[in-house]
């Protein structure tokens, strides 16, 4: 049990809230409220820490940070001992910790079946979906942190704006050339072509790949594996036609596009949907060369 985490909430009661909070426009009743709540939280957290770990518990060390709450402005790890049940996932454990011990523990989650993509965390040093990761396969204590290389908003919640911007930058929508004349007439697509793009269409935008990528970490403009995969999904779809494919390759072969990838496979390794991201990027490089486009 860390001592550091116990010290902070025990600041003298009378101390005024720091001046940074004035910048966020908090009036003094709000400051008082903040303080009262922080004390209450500190007590509950203490109680949770003091609770004797039961026989079958999972020990989680969870990253905590809140720019607004005094006791959490300095990032720290909190310990939670969660009763272990068969089949329990990291997400289940976090929900338990939040609902039973500390309502302020904050993380994104929704479908809990690996399709909404909102609960990607850094678990024991690897990007994973919380809902898809069984506690039983992890060494304890289990460290749960926000995705690296992304700005932390609060606790396990990271700012996704940059990721979304990159996704949007590759024109992520179908651009048909010749639609069948009738409203009831579909385009034709071969089974082989559907199979070709199938894996790329499975992306759930969780950003695990982007977070694991060394290049993306050092080059903020790099499109990143998810956005390139999204472009692949369209570029390889025969229904779009050659002209638009060339247009897509031009977007991809730009300075911060496919050529930045150094085939480290970290994106492929962490992808919860098993998308062969690195392979897709390499294939697009080959396509770009074939089209005789300039590269950097």
């Amino acid at each position: 049990m860390s001592t550091q985490q116990q010290e902070q909430p025990e600041e003298p009661e009378s101390q005024e809230a720091p001046t940074e909070q004035e910048m966020s426009g908090l009036s003094s009743p709000q400051q008082t409220r903040l303080q009262r709540k922080q004390e209450g939280l500190a007590q509950r957290e203490q109680a949770a820490r003091d609770a004797e770990p039961e026989e079958e518990t999972a020990h989680l060390k969870v990253f905590r940070y809140d720019p607004e709450v005094e006791g959490k402005q300095e990032p720290r790890f909190d310990d939670f001992h969660v009763p272990l049940e068969r089949g329990m996932t990291v997400l289940d454990a976090l929900i338990y910790a939040r609902d039973e011990f500390d309502p302020s523990l904050t993380f994104r989650h929704s479908c809990r079946q690996a399709i909404c993509g909102s609960d990607a965390f850094f678990v024991n040093g690897s990007q994973r979906l919380g809902c898809k990761t069984q506690l039983s396969e992890l060494d304890q204590p289990i460290r749960v942190e926000p995705l690296p290389h992304q700005e932390v908003v609060k606790d396990l919640v990271v700012d996704m704006e940059h990721f979304y911007d990159q996704m949007h930058s590759v024109e992520p929508y179908f651009q048909e050339e010749d639609l069948p004349a009738g409203d009831l007439e579909e385009q034709r697509q071969t089974r082989e072509n559907r199979e070709k793009v199938k894996m790329s269409t499975r992306c759930i935008w969780c950003a695990a790949c982007m977070s694991s990528c060394n290049i993306a970490a050092g080059d903020n403009e790099y499109l990143g594996p998810a956005a390139i995969n999204k472009a692949y999904r369209f570029a390889m779809d025969d229904r779009e036609g050659e002209d638009i494919k060339e247009h897509r390759l031009r977007i991809l072969e730009q300075e911060h596009g496919v050529w930045r990838c150094q085939t480290q496979f970290s994106c492929t390794e962490v992808c919860p949907k098993d998308i062969p991201l690195t392979e897709h990027i390499q294939e697009l490089k080959r396509e770009a060369v074939k089209k005789n486009l300039k590269f950097w």
Partner: protein, 615 residues
């Protein structure tokens, strides 16, 4: 304050399609969603989209199957609209690049589904919803439609005329989850609720944690009737430990259900001698639970769904996602062993009363998708009918809200003179009363001075009311956490308003719901932060769940017959003489009343005659 022509609340399939529809009709449209669009629960839909696309099939057959599946509680104008619009709206998705599964000739594949007389379920592997959601979002990006993501809509800004039919919706009040700022969104032409289902009212559900019936509750409190809420679909194949859905596509492809004795019970115990595993969902759910209750369940809890005989190739081609789900969430390899399954809450067939154009009785307020009840599903939704519903009615709501003329609606909305009202039912509680301070219509009180509503005033008052409410919740130092109330509510609903129901149990649930209301008076937000305060958001959601759960239980109590998904121990017969009618529950300022509206069985060219529903 933000201002747009059309505001869409929720960005799942229905919301995205509504936004595209409104945009196509020339409106400046914005979406406000508590998630990001690609996180919406439509992504979890697996099975497919029913649409009569092929020779040998036509919209009339689709309409007939849907009416029969609904146990004659669907409204013909709604069902016929669905069946007629579905083919074009499905092909539109293909034109937008949706990666549907394909036949040898490159056309989209279709497969059999429960209750369908033709294999008309168009699909993309066993992840149709994921692709539908992403394709629709791509089209929203393409059109540059404004999305306010991670903004939680707290309430509607509606005028306060005494009769809900006279009220107008001018916008919504929302809360920026990231910053805690509460702001008004003015809608010059209309607000479309597309907030999905309320599955979180139950504790074993296929629904996402975000499915908390927010739209239902907000519309209900603003005066829109909730229609047929007692009809909750329980899906027969969910994983026992989590409620994760195993698509009906497994049975569509030939998957078989076995009990612990290895009996193919759908046939051997005579639950559905013709359709077997492909009987409709209510029939299969009851069959499974009967097996468990009679001691033939595996581990006294579930049954087995076996797809091994389909062969690895076919499974990988059409049901690959199911293998992943069974492995990740139950530790079972579907290629070498059967999967454990049991019924779980899946879909709310009732909802916000709308007409075929998506409009409610409140002017400028629309609803589409699972939160709405235009009444296509009646007492039981057929598999593969939810996705066409959201594209068909999402599009219509968007276009109509944007001002496009879709023709006069045949379905009436709103409380009308001379309707049949329930007066003599023995309720164990006074519904809606106590526990929760009034919001909604009461809070946005216009001054009542005349016909011309003070639009900005209505919105400003609504914003002020929510800012006060947040302040009160945050100020409170101690009390009951929302999680405690939510868990209690979910447990009560699952115990007593589940697949099998009886009067005593439903009344017990209603009393617990009342307790939850009382406890909610003392609810408080423990997290002091304005930054990404999920505690605050879930406190709002829990209140919505209480309101929605109450309408479900009230509907279940008064409907003393057995129809579709609504099974009543006391009454094992469908009672067409007394119950060919919709259950309507109007809140109207905290004074709920229960009344009925006749089912419309008369279609454009033919009238649907209720028949015994057998499979």
């Amino acid at each position: 304050m933000y201002e747009h022509d059309v505001i869409v609340v929720g960005a799942g399939g229905a919301g995205l399609r509504a936004a595209i529809g409104a945009h196509e009709a020339g409106a400046d449209v914005a979406m406000v969603t508590k998630l990001h669009p690609v996180r919406s629960h439509t992504g979890a839909a697996e099975g497919g989209i029913n649409a009569a696309l092929r020779d040998g099939d036509d919209w009339e057959l689709h309409a007939y199957d849907t009416m029969k599946g609904s146990d004659y509680l669907g409204d013909a104008p709604a069902i016929e609209t669905l069946a007629k619009d579905a083919p074009e709206d499905t092909i539109t998705l293909e034109h937008w690049g949706m990666p549907f599964s394909r036949e040898e000739d490159g056309t989209v594949s279709q497969r059999p589904f429960g209750g369908l007389s033709f294999p008309r379920t168009t699909y993309a592997g066993a992840e149709t919803g994921h692709h539908l959601l992403h394709v629709l979002y791509e089209q929203v990006v393409k059109r540059g439609i404004q999305v306010y993501d991670e903004w939680y809509v707290m309430n509607l800004a509606v005028t306060d005329e005494p009769d809900p039919n006279d009220r107008t919706c001018h916008g919504v009040v929302a809360y920026d989850v990231q910053s805690g700022v509460v702001e008004g969104f003015k809608a010059n032409k209309g607000v479309i609720l597309a907030t999905g289902g309320p599955g979180q009212a139950f504790d074993h559900t296929t629904n996402a944690v975000s499915c908390t019936g927010d739209g239902n509750a907000m519309a209900y409190r603003a005066g829109v009737p909730m229609e047929d809420m007692e009809f909750v679909q329980f899906h027969p194949t969910t994983l026992p430990s989590t409620g994760v859905l195993i698509s009906e596509g497994v049975r569509g492809e030939g998957g078989i259900l076995y009990n612990e004795l290895g009996e193919r019970f759908m046939f051997e115990h005579g639950y559905a001698n013709n359709a077997g595993e492909l009987a409709s969902r209510d029939v299969v759910s009851r069959a499974e639970l009967t097996e468990v209750n009679q001691g033939r369940g595996v581990e006294d809890e579930y049954v087995h769904l076996d797809m091994r005989h389909l062969g690895a190739e076919r499974i990988l081609d059409r049901l690959e996602n199911i293998l992943h789900l069974a492995e990740d969430f139950e530790g079972v390899d579907g290629l070498v062993e059967p999967m454990p399954v049991k019924p779980g809450q899946h879909y709310e067939m009732g909802g916000i009363e709308t007409d075929e154009n998506g409009e409610t009785c409140i002017s400028g307020l629309y609803a589409a998708g699972e939160c709405a009840c235009v009444s296509v599903h009646g007492a039981n939704r057929l598999g593969g009918n939810a996705l066409p519903e959201l594209v068909v009615f999402g599009k219509r709501a968007g276009r109509h809200a944007a001002g496009e003329d879709l023709g006069e609606a045949e379905i009436e909305t709103g409380y009308a003179e001379g309707v049949e009202e329930e007066t003599d039912v023995d309720l164990p509680i006074t519904p809606g009363e106590a526990g929760i301070e009034p919001t909604g219509a009461d809070d946005v009180a216009a001054d009542g001075s005349g016909q011309v509503a003070d639009v900005d005033g209505v919105l400003a008052r609504a914003v002020e009311a929510e800012r006060d409410r947040v302040e009160r919740l945050m100020e409170k130092d101690d009390g009951v956490p929302h999680a405690e109330i939510r868990a209690k509510l979910q447990k009560a609903m699952t115990a007593d308003v589940n697949v099998f129901r009886n009067e005593e149990g439903i009344k017990r649930a209603l009393r617990t719901i009342r307790e939850c209301r009382e406890e909610y008076r003392d609810v408080y937000v423990a997290d002091p932060s304005r930054t990404f305060n999920t505690d605050l958001q879930m406190t709002y959601e829990t209140r919505n769940l209480i309101d929605v759960a109450e309408t479900i239980a009230l509907g279940a109590l008064v409907r003393n017959e057995f129809r579709g998904a609504h099974w009543r121990q006391e009454n094992q017969e469908r009672d067409d003489e007394n119950w060919l009618k919709h259950t309507m529950i109007s809140w109207n300022g905290g004074k709920p009343s229960i009344w009925y509206r006749p089912v419309i069985l008369e279609g454009e060219e033919k009238t649907y005659e209720p028949k015994i529903r057998s499979y």
